[in-house]
Amino acid sequence: MSLLWLRFALACYFIGLVYAFVALSRTSDLFARIALHAASLGMVFHFVSLVELFLSGQVVWASVHNSESLLAFLSMTFFMVIYAIYQTTSPGVVVFPVVFFLTFVAAVDQQPVLLTSFVSHKGWLVAHIILIFTGYAALVLSFGASLLYLLQERRLKAKKPTSLISFLPALEVIDQIGYRSLLLGFPFMTLGLISGSVVAITTPTIGRVDFLDPKILLSVLMWAVYMIMVFTRWNSGWRGRRAAILASFAFVAALAAWAANYFSAIHRFAS
């Protein structure tokens, strides 16, 4: 049943995906409103799907598909918070495709793949997953904002008359969205890593933690890039191209850290 709700959500997110592509070429307030309503409806279905999953009583949060679903939902929540503050749907250009992709993968009918390791502290595990995914969602949004910043900066520098009729919000607004997402996401990411470490250390089956494990290395790398981004922004106000490069690097690092789940010894998804 949870999967059915998720597919309803996917159908709604599809409208958002179409909007994301259309918005790149032309402005349409009507379509933006339709996409927003569809996305809101999608979130309701998505929430029901997640609640049903939770009530099913299994520790399935740690499965690949369910965690992708959770990440998609959190990204959408961030998007909606930003819409409530700034009244702009333009981050959807990046967020909608990411959310659609994550939900699509999660909604494909496959048996959940579970963590093989036995976990003795379920509370820490749940905290770890929610915190780290909130951090990921913030990172997705920050990455999206930095791309939009570049796009808007180019439009303004191109000095084409039509550049004034654009769906993008003002440069400083995009900048604020990116920076605030970054600031908000950083503590979540940090606490997520700490709680993950607690789970690793206190789980007897893992035994001695290998610090050269790819999952640990990549996670630390991702966190370091994240910290550099926050620091450079705070210290010297890096924006535009440099910020976008860093954000892309952090995003790739995050993807790598995610992919490490498939070959890490201590943090592994397996059938």
């Binding site: 009507l30 303004l156 009729i165 440069l171």
Partner: protein
Amino acid sequence: MRYQLIGVNHKSAPLEVRERLAIPEKRLPDTCRELTAYPGIEEGMVISTCNRVEVVTHTVNGHADLRGFLHDHFHLKPEELDAHLYEFREKDAVRHIFRVASSLDSMVVGEAQILGQVKEAYATARAVGAVRGQLDQLFSRAFAVAKRVRTETAVGSSSVSIASVAVELAKKIFGTLQGKNVFIVGAGKMSELAARHLMAHGCASIFVANRTYERAIGLAQKFDGQAIKFEDLYATCDRADIVITSTGAPHAIFRREHGEQFLARRKNRPMFFIDIAVPRDVSPEMGKLDGIFTYDIDDLQQAVAGHIADRRKEAELAEAIIASEVEKFEARSHTLDVVPTIVSLQDHLETIRQAEIDRVRSRMGQLTPEQEIAVEALTRGIINKVMHTPITALKSAAKESEATTVVDVVRRLFNLQIKDKDAAQTPAKSDEVGTRP
């Protein structure tokens, strides 16, 4: 559809004529009353703005002497006024009102003010009972059409002067201009105008630097700003988010290294340079820096031209919307025109039927229930068959703009007495306007 409109606008009449026709706001109610008291006019309202004075009416027979009304009201001779007047009737009057409300007939196409002005004129006329059924329908539709034009086209979305383009660009960079600082370098008229626009949109403070310090002080005082000595320009310029520069310097005064310094001191917060000097004050190299946005006079003019072209393109779309809306409105009005005739015809034939049944009943005595049903069915069947052809003719005439002729024929053929449609629609208000002859 007995609408009639007469008026002058910025295209048909020079300012001196428009000035003589302008009606102050407080005199509008009296003018509306006077208008509806004029022979042949059922309803009327007056739109009076700085660019137009228009009298919109719904008349008794579509041929009211609106020129006469203007001559009488403004005490003007025909030769003084008539050459500047335009007059529209029926469908053309509807189209004109739709165009005016949608700001397609404005001096600056797409400006938003006109719709508000038309709404005010409508409210004033309505308050004194000069606008009732027919003009009410027309203007309610005109407001809906204006909204549609605004939503479905971008006719009102771009501004057209250099100063307003500068403001729009600044907003694209900074979002809101609240709290932003402006720096004027070189005290010229054009930079003063741009600064005035920016301040009107919420900029917080203004700095002025000029080679002649006294002129800087003079301009700074106008804006309650701060004069800066020219030699302190580079040390203070980074305090501004928007720089308007228009010096007569023979070479660029802002170069790449200056831009780098400013950005470093501002922690890379963006800066917007409006360079209206010829030759340019800002080097193109500086404009390439991340976070520095430079628009010179050509860029600004290109943006203005682009806006005008955009508007022209959008105005074509808007005209298409208006054309289809006029057709819809006309079709609806004609349908409304034939409805009272159809109702009267039905009433008339029903009265005949009832009278004939009563007559037969008095001759034949009490009928059995079965006989009653049979007589009812028979007479109704005959009446319906008789009515079918004229009603069909009326309905199809309504669609093809021949309603008035066919309505007249049917009325004469059946000797129909039609109640006053407007009085029937708005019985309460018709009593208020009792001054009409």
